[in-house]
Symmetry: C2
Subunit: 187 residues, 2 copies
DNA sequence: GTGATTATTTATCATATGTTAAATGGTTTA
DNA sequence: TAAACCATTTAACATATGATAAATAATCAC
């Protein structure tokens, strides 16, 4: 679990007590490729940290599987539209290769916010940073061609190509698999 | 300033002391149509609440004016990519009609977080909610046609048509003014 | 109010991406 | 190893949106 705390420290340094309190609401799990961590339709009550492996958030749009986002090693993934609203999620988190995951119980985490303002601050900063990334992603979607977005993605996350099927990359980029194939075909 | 506090209360109820502390770092200003509240290139140190009027965040992409978002009465607007990173903003906030605005100094606000955990919580909840909206907007951009997005916008914010030039609506939707005109032309 | 500026529409042509279908290549399982 | 299944590519055609230019319409400044 040291890599989780190393990750958290980058956002805000915690006291020993706060760190221990977080440790107590975490579980390390190993997950096989292609399993869903939580089914679509259930309210999100867990924040996941990827120790080792890859995951994606996906949902179905008119029956088509759409990837909303990827998460790689040493990063957090959560269905925030459910986590922050308490509503059932239309999305699922899928593990894309055999992975080791830290599962943080969000109900217990949010309770810790009352006792440890420093923990509330830590996660505030984490999600503020994710929020900024999301705002920037809108700009990327709206004002770059699919080809530019594809090139930016493989520059930004070269591992994605090694670990993720192209069909998921296509839907993440907002295009069809056929379009992505065409883009890749052009030298 | 009562409408600001009414807005805040929807997210998290504050103690009298916290409310007063916030009141002390706010300024009410009246702003003429078409003025920029803060120039591009300066670090965002203010969160604005629209008492009366309309505003937009915009920036230049390859010399073209792009609207990132609108804000109407009883809502907050801030350049969060600068507010949360401390980096200079490439964006500006422009007032689109004569408006009355509450300006909240963010440096002082963030200092209040240390004294009033309830204020930190309040703004955490506000921005978490805005974060969720942004995630949903990505879905809207990626998987709906420009025409669908236009119709959704005028359904969602009918005032936008009365108060905002079409060219700003077009760039907000991610299309050219000419395309929007064509979409509107079709009965 | 008049002229100048700015916003919006209309038209034409170009292009990126979608849709469908079929061909090829790769992986899993019995 | 073969068979079945899944992923990726290729091809042909359709369509939404972009780019440019010109015509109206609306707004602003004097």
């Amino acid at each position: 679990m040291t890599s989780l705390f190393k990750y958290l420290k980058k956002f805000y340094p915690l006291s020993k007590e706060a760190e221990q309190a977080i440790g107590e609401i975490c579980k390390i799990i190993t997950v096989k490729k292609n399993t869903d961590l939580q089914p679509i339709g259930h309210t999100c009550k867990t924040i996941y940290f990827i120790n080792k492996g890859v995951a994606r958030i996906y949902y179905f749009k008119d029956g088509v599987d759409i990837t909303e986002s990827f998460a790689f090693e040493n990063n957090i993934i959560a269905r925030i539209e459910s986590l922050f609203t308490g509503k059932p999620s239309r999305k699922a988190i899928q593990i894309l290769e055999d992975s080791e995951i830290v599962a943080i119980n969000s109900t217990q985490l949010f309770k810790l916010y009352d006792t440890f303002p420093e923990i509330e601050r830590l996660f505030r900063l984490i999600f503020e940073s994710a929020y900024v990334d999301t705002v920037n992603r809108i700009e990327s979607i709206q004002f770059h061609t699919a080809e530019e977005r594809y090139k930016a993605l493989i520059k930004d996350a070269p591992n994605v190509l090694k670990k993720v099927p192209l069909k998921h990359i296509a839907s993440y980029l907002g295009i069809t698999q056929v379009s992505l194939s065409r883009i890749r075909g052009v030298k």
